[in-house]
């Protein structure tokens, strides 16, 4: 066997800027892996509905706050929208534990690359990386612990907001207008289909996003609606040229109240 000279290793070692590769090589026990019988997977908390909506200045990401295990509420306050870096975010749906872990791993991956290389990954590069992580999760998905996030960000190169959806095998599909994921996603998408318009302002897009989440909560038993009793409202984040930003809870609350009032007065809840 002819061995390669040692200095070649430097070129073959691509793990210098990938955190996942560092983990896989040096700390494989830290990589998420769970063994579970598929019939037990239903008892694991699942995140329910997240969505992303593009508007004039970028993208809005929103998610309800409930995690559901079977017919039980597992958590009323779970966060499903995570900041990946200054200009992108991940919305998670599917098995909550692995999904939160994946978001954390993805965030570290992006930050690690940025620090080592001294430069940001392109939005496309980040989207592909997330696809690879979903593929990595495939053995767990086969056991019923699928994680299917949505990824959205502001592309500095073309100065537009972009959003991506995935399938369980890590297949990546770019959407232009909106996308929803999770158990209530069909209802959210139906709602967005009717309400989404081109070139919406931030406020219009915010309203559309929350309308869609309320619709999903209305139709899907797993998805939580705005909870006025406990004061729990959907998570909403904006990503535009100024970066990843919070929408203040007071603003979300006010919007929820307005929408619910309109629906109360309509007579049929829509």
């Amino acid at each position: 066997m002819n061995e390669q000279p040692r200095w070649l290793n430097v070129f073959n070692d691509l793990s210098t800027s990938s955190f996942v590769d560092v983990l896989r090589r040096d700390h494989p026990h830290l990589l998420p892996e769970v063994r579970l019988r598929p019939e037990d997977a239903a008892a694991v908390p699942h995140g329910t509905t997240v969505l992303a909506v593009s508007y004039r200045d970028g993208v809005i990401m929103a998610g309800d706050r409930q995690a559901t295990a079977g017919y039980q509420v597992a958590s009323r306050r779970i966060e499903k929208i995570f900041k990946a870096d200054d200009f992108s975010g991940v919305g998670i749906a599917g098995a909550a534990g692995p999904a939160v872990e994946m978001a954390k791993l993805f965030q570290t991956e992006v930050e690690h690359y940025e620090k080592v290389e001294g430069d940001n990954l392109s939005l496309e590069g980040k989207a592909n990386k997330l696809g690879q992580m979903i593929r990595m999760n495939l053995p767990m998905a086969m056991q019923g612990l699928a994680v299917v996030p949505i990824f959205a960000g502001f592309d500095a190169k073309s100065a537009v907001g972009r959003l991506f959806k995935y399938d369980v095998t890590g297949g990546k599909y770019e959407e232009t207008n909106f996308e929803a994921q999770g158990s209530g996603s069909k209802d959210a998408r139906d709602s967005l289909k009717k309400l989404w318009k081109k070139d919406m302002t931030r406020d219009e897009a915010l309203r559309v996003a929350i309308e869609a989440l309320i619709d999903a909560a209305d139709e899907d038993v797993g998805t939580g609606g705005p909870d006025f009793i406990r004061g729990i409202f959907p998570t909403v984040r904006t990503i535009d040229k100024n970066g990843f930003g919070d929408v203040p809870e007071a603003e979300v609350r006010k919007l929820c109240e307005e929408i619910v009032t309109v629906r109360t007065n309509s007579g049929n809840g829509a």
Partner: protein, 231 residues
């Protein structure tokens, strides 16, 4: 089997130390200065692409002088250490002290075991997080693994002693960022026969007022403003 030549350990260490010191003395210097709202790292570095100063973690920064490939390897190892630790425990558990210790161990091992010691000095700085009792920390690690914790200011590289003397005379607490940058540049100028401009400098700060990731680079227009040299 021929016997290897005998060299006394004392002589060997002395030679290695001298070798490393010479290598470091050829390079340019870096100063670190605590200011009112954080920690300033300032390097003489004519390259805007090959960095000597870098972010490591939320509140931790790295600076290295000497041989680029050697401190670059240490920098990446430090980022890995911090990211793995933060990922497996929590972000708050990543500390400059643990990182500085790791550097100290690594450099100490290289110095005693390898034929060629690393010709580098590195610095690890951590800005206080504003919680009670939390203080800025600055660690300075030498080529042989010697580790020192420094207060208020630190200097390393070529003519660090002269720079340190200058800083000792002129440093005061509660500087603004602009004052700290100007003080740092004056201290670097002590060892030069030209005056350094924004083009010759690499500047990074651990800025306490930022959220989560405190490190930021200062360059271009904002650096010129801090230097007071905008036209």
């Amino acid at each position: 089997m021929p016997l290897p030549y005998y060299v006394s350990p004392e002589q060997m260490m002395k030679d290695k130390a001298e070798y490393a010191r010479k290598g470091i003395a050829r390079g340019r210097s870096i100063v670190t200065i605590e200011y009112g709202e954080g920690i300033l790292l300032l390097a003489e570095n004519p390259s805007s692409l090959l960095h000597k100063i870098s972010e490591v973690y939320d509140r931790i920064a790295f600076a290295g002088v000497g041989k680029y490939n050697e401190f670059e390897n240490l920098r990446i190892a430090g980022i890995r250490h911090a990211d793995v630790k933060g990922y497996s425990y929590s972000r708050g558990d990543v500390t400059a002290r643990a990182l500085a210790n790791a550097y100290s161990q690594a450099l100490g091992n290289i110095f005693t075991q390898d034929i060629k010691p690393f010709e580098v000095e590195v610095l690890v700085a951590e800005v206080a997080d504003g919680n009670h009792g939390s203080k800025n920390e600055i660690y300075h690690i030498l080529y042989d693994g010697t580790i020192e914790d420094e207060h208020n200011y630190a200097a390393m590289g070529g003519q660090a002693d002269e720079i340190r003397r200058f800083l000792k005379e002129h440093y005061r607490e509660g500087l603004s960022l602009a004052e700290a940058v100007q003080l740092g540049v004056r201290s670097l100028n002590v060892t030069q026969n030209k005056t350094l401009t924004a083009k010759d400098l690499e500047v990074g700060v651990l800025d306490r007022t930022k959220t989560r990731r405190k490190f930021r680079r200062v360059g271009g227009e904002s650096l010129a403003q801090l230097l007071g040299t905008t036209s």
